[in-house]
Amino acid sequence: MSIKIGQKSYGDRIQDGLSNSFMRKAVSGAQGRFRSGRLKAAEELGDWEDWRTLGEEIRSHTMENLDYYLHQLSEQVENRGGTVFFAKTAEEANEYIQEIAKKKQAKKVVKSKSMVTEEIGLNKALEKSGCEVVESDLGEWILQLDEDPPSHIVTPALHKNKEQIRETFMKKKGYTGSDDPVELAAYAREQLRQDFLEADIGVTGCNFAVAESGAITLVTNEGNARMVTSLPDTQISVMGMERIVPTWEDLEVVVSLLTRAAVGQKLTSYITALTGTRLEDEVDGPEDFHLVIVDNGRSKILGTEFQSALHCIRCAACINACPVYRHVGGHSYGSIYPGPIGAVLTPLLDGYEDHKDLPYASTLCAACTEACPVKIPLHEHLIRHREIIVEREKMTTKAEKMMMMGFAKWASTPAAYKLSTKMARTTLKPWTKDEYIEKGPGPMKGWTEQRDFPAPSKERFRDWYRQREQRSDH
């Protein structure tokens, strides 16, 4: 897998999403829970806006000084017995990890949820070099069994509900239990236990690396990450180069923001911090630790007007707040990063060619911007993307371009503007019935396919106003 998922066109993906009533019910139900959880958690904190400001400051300070902190981090990791590898591309990251697997003669790799390994397509790469890869988080495991891509960045299997999960377990694993979530989770745990014991390598993501100490932190609710990091002898953590905080104090702030914004929790069940390799007097931990820091397009974003997109802490609050996501679901975005942050980030990382429709999959309602705990102006980034698509990439249709040039003329020439509003009623007459248009011509088609359009009024406001003025003059 890579950033892009599937080969279907945007239009087909939207059709699929909209007609999947099963998914839509699962998504809108979950969105409801996440949204109210977030609002409640924000209210509890009282000064949510101050927290957001603090979060934004920490993130922008880190990005402004990213070189410094990456250097500090790598020194600290190495001081503690780890090895750091900077991967410029997905291929470089995969090759490095494949190399380790080869050296260790690894047969089995257990993983804990990580978006960046999805992004670089690590599972496929490892499988190619003969390793069995087992996703150990419940959601990821379900998707792996079903060969389905994630549809959300915090709860990757959000698009499925318990009946569907039970079915997957029955089909792929011969499960015979009920669809009770507790029973389903217990079954998964049971199944995964053996994998943990057998694994040669544990791969994790990294929510935040703490530069001052070289610690990798993982924020989870299932605790599987602990097994992944403590049982196998070799541990590899893969992180996007922006997932870094300067100090433990900063970590406290961003983790509080993350868990509250994501699901409305004060904290998650597990916040694991791992620092280097096992010391002589320690009972667990890896003998060998590698930190792979992935660029894969990120450094191109630094220093541009999109830099704040790198502030993202992957809490998914924007996704949960988005009414478009609510209806189309995660797969419609055609990217492993769905929703508003996906629409901003995907074209930045993977180019406009395959993703030029994403910036338009938004009404610019700004629910995302309002929800974002680190104040990324998501809807403004979407407008900026559109500008680039129009002006730099020149990817819009000729017809649209002509229309907008007409618009410019219309809006800048009062006489033309006045004439057109005067003519509007007559122009639309052939399509008008009972003061409404139910099937409109040309560009109106999209509108009238979904709703009626009112006929322009007999008398414009400006006509009324002029007459009123004339009357009062007399």
Binding site: V324, A367, M404, K409, P414, K418, K445, Q450, R451
Partner: protein, 238 residues
């Protein structure tokens, strides 16, 4: 107090009554109203679609049209917010950016102007009926006008205001989104229409004509008998 009306293109062409009510409301509180006739569209459709250079031509026309005004007041949160964006859009042209800043600084959405500048919380109107209010996205989230419409509506005599479920969710209008992504837009406005139906209100009130045309058009298509009104129409009702 001298107030220049900013009557949006939709309002001018489709719902002149909203403009009339705006005039009467402002006059009721002693404002001296004028209508600069050289105003056009705020430019939002082009700007939000990524056609920044195309939008700029219109923005300059708007800046010129209102240059002499003391206050500019418009019955649309969304279009007023667009005017607030002008300085940013024109950032590369310092002289225009400055003129844009002046315009942005004196421009208000109607209910915001009534509450914040005129300092009026009760306009003294009477409207008998059951209604629900949709707080449109650009008005609430982007322009930051959250309380003014609610305060004014709560003081309208005879008005029974029912809360709209998930009211903060976008109605699916989004300017060209309604045309470009009409399928998604249709699902969004359908959900809205269902929520409006649940309230069993007779009227739907809003502060943005675009959103009202979207929701009203869907209600009509669905055969739902809910009338839509701009907030100016309710506030000026006697």
């Amino acid at each position: 107090m001298k107030v220049s009306l900013f009557i949006t293109c939709l309002c001018d062409t489709f719902t002149p009554d909203v403009g009339k009510d705006t005039v009467e409301l402002l006059e009721r509180f002693g404002c001296e109203v004028d209508f600069p006739a050289r105003q056009t569209c705020c430019g939002q459709p082009a700007y939000n679609s990524g056609y920044k250079s195309e939008s700029i031509k219109g923005l300059k026309q708007m800046i010129k049209a209102f240059e002499q005004s003391e206050y500019v007041v418009g019955p649309s949160g969304s279009c007023v917010h667009m005017i607030k964006e002008y300085p940013k859009v024109l950032a590369d042209e310092p002289e225009w950016a400055e003129r844009a800043r002046k315009l942005a600084g004196k421009t208000y959405e109607l209910t915001q102007f009534i509450v914040e500048v005129l300092n009026v919380k009760d306009v003294g109107s009477t409207f008998t009926g059951t209604a629900t209010y949709h707080p449109s996205c650009h008005m609430t989230r982007l322009l930051g006008v959250k309380d003014a419409p609610r305060i004014l509506l709560e003081n309208v005599e005879g008005l029974n205001l029912i809360d709209l479920p998930l009211k903060e969710d976008c109605c699916g209008f989004g300017g060209t989104f309604a045309v470009k992504n009409s399928l998604i837009s249709g699902e969004m406005v359908q959900e809205k229409a269902e929520h409006i139906g649940e309230t069993q209100a007779d009227y739907l009130i809003g502060g943005d004509m675009g959103c009202l045309m979207n929701m009203g058009g869907r209600l009509r298509r669905n055969g739902q008998e809910v009338k839509f009104l701009h907030i100016a129409q309710v506030l000026n009702a006697q």
